[in-house]
């Protein structure tokens, strides 16, 4: 991005980025800003409503909900980024290759991907985690194993479109190698759309992680994680709704910020050519 175009960063994009940055910072600084130890059990003060000592109340073991949410950022955000990175790592080369070379491999690959995409992500992910055994690492593995296909499909469609352009043809005629064409002419062109897609997907991944942890398949207790906190809340939220309200709000805030960033980036993309 050129600096002189920075004024185009509208307030929406700025707000989204600030929220996301704030969330990451809060996760990073959790040991210093959290009012309590997220694992400290205190049965005398269980299921309390918000107060000055416990701003978001306490859960069924008397643990501070605010502290747990802050520490939960570390798990949710870092696993979401790991997943995003790994899916890109797998998806991008495959998409670049199959989209630019075409032919039989591409055909077979797409048929395979289209078939797997017929099965909803969550079903496959749950089955994979179920067979491997619940846990954070297995969950990350399962989500990556399921998600990369949609990346290939999306990025491949971008590559296909670019390869129909005349400038690719002239680049070929000028004697550029295939690899050089991809790096010099294709990658810069698909950078922004991928960023837009990735920002939106970051939110979806967080929802995915939270959903699996909610089912008890992701991070295991007593690790503070948003979805797992909601799982803990299942038996208690009817008595004290705060055990579910605040972790849920944290998830919604994160996902909304991702959507906002993605949408505003998408609007920008045409101006940055």
């Amino acid at each position: 991005m050129k600096l002189k175009r920075l004024e185009q960063l509208n307030t929406g994009l700025l707000a989204g980025l600030v929220i996301l940055l704030g969330i990451f910072l809060a996760g990073l600084l959790a040991p210093w800003i959290a009012p309590h130890d997220p694992l400290a059990v205190n049965l005398a003060s269980r299921l309390q409503s918000p107060s000055w000592t416990y701003p978001f109340g306490t859960d069924h073991l008397g643990r501070c909900i605010l502290s747990r949410i802050l520490y939960g950022i570390r798990i949710s955000a870092s696993s979401a980024f790991i997943i995003l990175f790994l899916t890109m790592l797998i998806g991008l080369p495959i998409a670049l290759l199959t989209g630019s070379v075409r032919g039989r491999t591409d055909n077979l690959m797409m048929r395979f991907i289209d078939s797997t995409l017929a099965i909803p992500d969550i079903v496959l992910t749950i089955a994979i985690v179920g067979l491997l055994g619940p846990g954070l690492v297995n969950m990350i593995f399962a989500i990556v194993l399921v998600r990369w296909a949609s990346y290939v499909r999306f990025i491949r469609s971008l590559v296909l479109k670019i390869f129909q352009e005349d400038y690719i043809l002239s680049a070929k005629m000028a004697g550029n190698s295939h690899f050089r064409i991809l790096r010099r002419y294709v990658l810069p062109e698909i950078k922004m759309p991928i960023l837009v897609f990735g920002a939106l997907d970051l939110g979806k991944i967080v929802l995915n992680i939270a959903g699996l942890s909610f089912l008890g398949l992701g991070s295991q207790p007593p690790t503070p994680e948003w979805g797992a906190m909601l799982n803990d809340a299942t038996d208690y939220f009817q008595i004290s709704p705060y055990v579910m309200i605040f972790p849920g709000l944290a998830i919604v805030l994160f996902v909304l910020a991702c959507q906002l960033v993605s949408e505003k980036l998408g609007e920008l993309r045409y101006d940055f050519r």
Binding site: S115, V123, G130, A210, G248, V252
Partner: protein, 308 residues
């Protein structure tokens, strides 16, 4: 038409093959010996003789390739093994729970469609009005709120605070309302935006100008002329979202203790009941590819242009 069907059938076989292979690999690399787990599930003391006897009975002492071929044969002949826990054939256990899940998914779909149409049409008619602005916010929230949290909020509001509706179990119509709403609401708000955008796009056509010139109101044109054209993409949406409903029902079922496939598979995961989990994936794969085939087929019937 025959070519289409054959191609789709081939795709089904391919998917089942891939899923079966995947589950086979996963079970082999997952920690824990199936024989030991099975004995534990039946509360039999896992002595080494008992484990060995069961291992050879289950065919676990055969070579890996032999096991793999046998597993593929089993999958394609419908012999999916027996549940470690209940000792009943997996396929029967799955079919017993299918109706509950289908009921929930269909109800979720109905709620989704209702929301899509009411919100989509009203936001298109009052473009940039109050309803439109509310619709935009709802659609944003609809895709950001996790289903399980929405379920909790619904239970807290309608069961705990107001006491209007039951929060768990299956049976009467009242039991269905909250789970179906939880399942369908979010996607409904998102699709409402799609329908709105599509209707407004169709509004650019020349015949609209002609109708306006003859004195028809924009509202009338939207509802009586545009809507019909906007329905076609909705048909595809219904197919894909039905698959989405079936997938999403796993989480909703576990919130509302709905006795369907999703709750069963989560239970089985907690009991380490491998045959059930394996059977479930293959079952789901067949179900979803089947739905896709059906949608494509319906599309072919509705839109004659595609038949050429």
């Amino acid at each position: 038409m025959l070519k289409f069907l054959l191609e789709r059938l081939l795709q089904l076989v391919l998917v089942v093959f891939c899923v079966a292979t995947l589950t086979f690999i996963l079970v082999r690399i997952s920690p824990g010996d199936p024989a030991t787990i099975m004995l534990k599930a039946n509360e039999v003391p896992a002595s080494s003789e008992a484990i060995h006897a069961l291992r050879s009975e289950l065919g676990l002492t055969n070579s890996i390739s032999g096991q793999y071929i046998e597993w593929l044969q089993q999958i394609f002949t419908g012999e999916w093994g027996e549940s470690f826990v209940s000792q009943k054939p997996v396929i029967n256990e799955l079919f017993v729970r299918l109706p509950a899940t289908l009921e929930l998914a269909l109800a979720g779909l109905a709620i989704m469609l209702a929301v899509t149409f009411v919100m989509g049409i009203s936001t298109a008619v009052y473009e940039n009005g109050l309803a439109d602005k509310i619709g935009r916010v709802l659609a944003l929230l609809g895709s950001a709120i996790p289903t399980f949290w929405l379920g909790f909020l619904c239970i807290y509001l309608f069961s705990v605070s107001l006491g209007w509706l039951p929060s768990i179990g299956r049976g009467s119509f009242e039991n269905l309302i909250l789970p179906a709403t939880t399942l369908g609401l979010g996607l409904g708000t998102v699709y409402a935006r799609v329908l709105r955008a599509h209707m407004l796009e169709l509004l650019q056509q020349p015949f609209v100008k002609a109708s306006r010139a003859r004195g028809l109101s924009k509202k009338r044109i939207l509802v009586f002329q545009i809507l019909k054209q906007a329905l076609l993409p909705i048909v595809t949406m219904v197919g894909t979202s039905f698959a989405f409903m079936l997938g999403g029902s796993i989480i909703v079922e576990s919130i509302f203790s709905w006795p369907g496939l999703g709750q069963y598979v989560i239970e089985s995961i907690n009991m380490r009941d491998y045959p059930v989990i394996q059977g479930y994936v293959v079952f789901a794969a067949i179900l979803f590819v089947g739905i896709h085939m059906l949608v494509d087929f319906i599309y072919l019937l509705i839109d004659p242009r595609l038949r050429v």
